[in-house]
Symmetry: none
Subunit: 259 residues, 2 copies
DNA sequence: CATGAAAATGTAATTATTTGCAAGTTTGGA
DNA sequence: TCCAAACTTGCAAATAATTACATTTTCATG
């Protein structure tokens, strides 16, 4: 065949479109369509399923079920405004496996991550975000815990001593912390003093510490430093960042991941 | 046949659509339509029936009546019994004054009370209800605290040791506790075991203990007793209750208020 | 430009699931 | 009450998934 072979990721992307257009697919149908072996088709479907993009069935796969109307609205709005957040979330979700305990902090990026891991089994998700706490749909084998604390103004996040104490009393495999700025000195900053304690507490009580920030946040300091970039295991941002910026970040941080 | 056979899951989905379009189906009809044996058709119907999507009959299946099957949404439930709940809430709100600390437990009645006191100043409201926590609008001088804890299934309420510990660590001037039943022996009951701890903790940590229940709940016991009516300072119900019932309640309780 | 490590792919053996068939049993209407 | 149709159960064949492993491709680096 003289057809241009796709890269695995590109092929999976097209596969997802194919599945979303039709309602479901057969494994053989995919193998034939993309000129790959059934083994590879299975691996692709498994990967898409792991990302929660489709639902794997015996003999093929089906389109993923749509979320509730409210959630879809929220998510569409988020996608329109910040498509890179979605990419960051999908990349972040790949770091979580079945059975993990996960800290999800407050904010839209954090909710996107929570959505992206919601297809996993036996998760324990701990959040201080009331929107995530009330809207997230999880598998029956999962547990969702809320930190408690004081609602900050009219926002949807919980802060204060009670929240910090809760987080200090538990331990998570991984923490995802959204921030407002990461400067070239490696200062990881947020714009609000109230949130400092809870974010620090989550970082402290997690084995793996992950900072998430879209490229617009890179290179700017903000009001409060919650940690140094070296203190976190990795930073996930999007590929809107320049090569130069990336080089500078690598000097002050550990693993820098572009989604 | 050159037709591509469906995957089992996809076939079941189409089968469900087929059954929903027609009112009912015969087994042979399905076997013929989907080119499968009657044994497989039976297995598919059994699976759909197990999911509650259809109702199995001798020789086939029929559409499921999904009126009661689906869980009613929070907002929809909010509208049920609205007038009574509204009156109870307004009466309950009269017991709260500026600067009070108030326990609001989970449920629609409790949310109605929260709304009814939201015009007051310098309140501290403590709730284990995620809907109240995220939706309630308060004056800037007020504080809203969330207990934290585990989200019970897909409900909007927090339960468990963490929630109870939080409540045990603070003290409120008044607690409003919604219940599922108050019988003639003075047993104040709820229908769910999980909520027992948090409701008891709120009662324990409050100076004034108020039980709220619309007249439909009066005279019935439920699964768990959280306290005796004598333990509470007052019970607020609506005037749908009979004179006889009121007399019986007064024997086993303290102040009985009709809203 | 060579080269070695990591990733991707295909193949084959093994295991698990699905399917159809046929035995005996139950059901529901005449 | 009787009997044909529908159901249940056990089982073997067909189909798909999983696992292990060999081969190829990709890509950063000396």
């Amino acid at each position: 065949m003289s057809e241009t072979p796709y890269t695995p990721v590109e092929r999976q992307r097209r596969m997802l479109e194919y599945i979303n257009q039709n309602r479901s697919v057969h494994l053989q149908e995919l193998a034939l369509f993309f000129h790959i072996s059934e083994a590879t088709a299975r691996r692709d479907l498994d990967e898409l399923s792991r990302q929660g993009a489709i639902i794997r069935t015996h003999g093929g796969a089906m389109r993923a079920e749509k979320s509730t109307a409210y959630e879809t609205l929220y998510q569409e709005r988020m996608n329109q405004q910040q498509p890179e957040k979605e990419r960051i979330a999908i990349r972040a979700a790949q770091m979580v496996k079945n059975g993990d305990t996960v800290f999800i902090d407050a904010g839209t990026t954090a909710f996107a991550i929570a959505k992206a891991i919601s297809h996993l089994e036996r998760l324990t998700i701990i959040t201080n975000d009331l929107f995530t706490a009330s809207q997230l749909q999880l598998k029956p084998t999962c547990t969702l815990m809320v930190t408690g604390g004081m609602r900050r103004g009219a926002s949807q996040e919980l802060v204060g001593a009670a929240a910090e104490e809760f987080v200090g009393a538990v331990h998570a495999d991984i923490a995802f912390i959204g921030v407002d700025g990461v400067d070239w000195m490696g200062n990881v900053c947020i714009a609000n003093f109230d949130e400092m304690g809870i974010k620090r507490a989550m970082l402290h009580s997690a084995t793996q510490k992950v900072i998430v920030a879209d490229h617009g946040k890179i290179g700017h300091a903000a009001l409060v430093r919650i940690c140094y970039l070296k203190d976190a295991d990795c930073l996930i941002t999007d590929d809107g960042i320049s090569t130069d910026s990336l080089r500078k970040l690598k000097k002050v941080g550990n693993d820098i991941i572009l989604a």
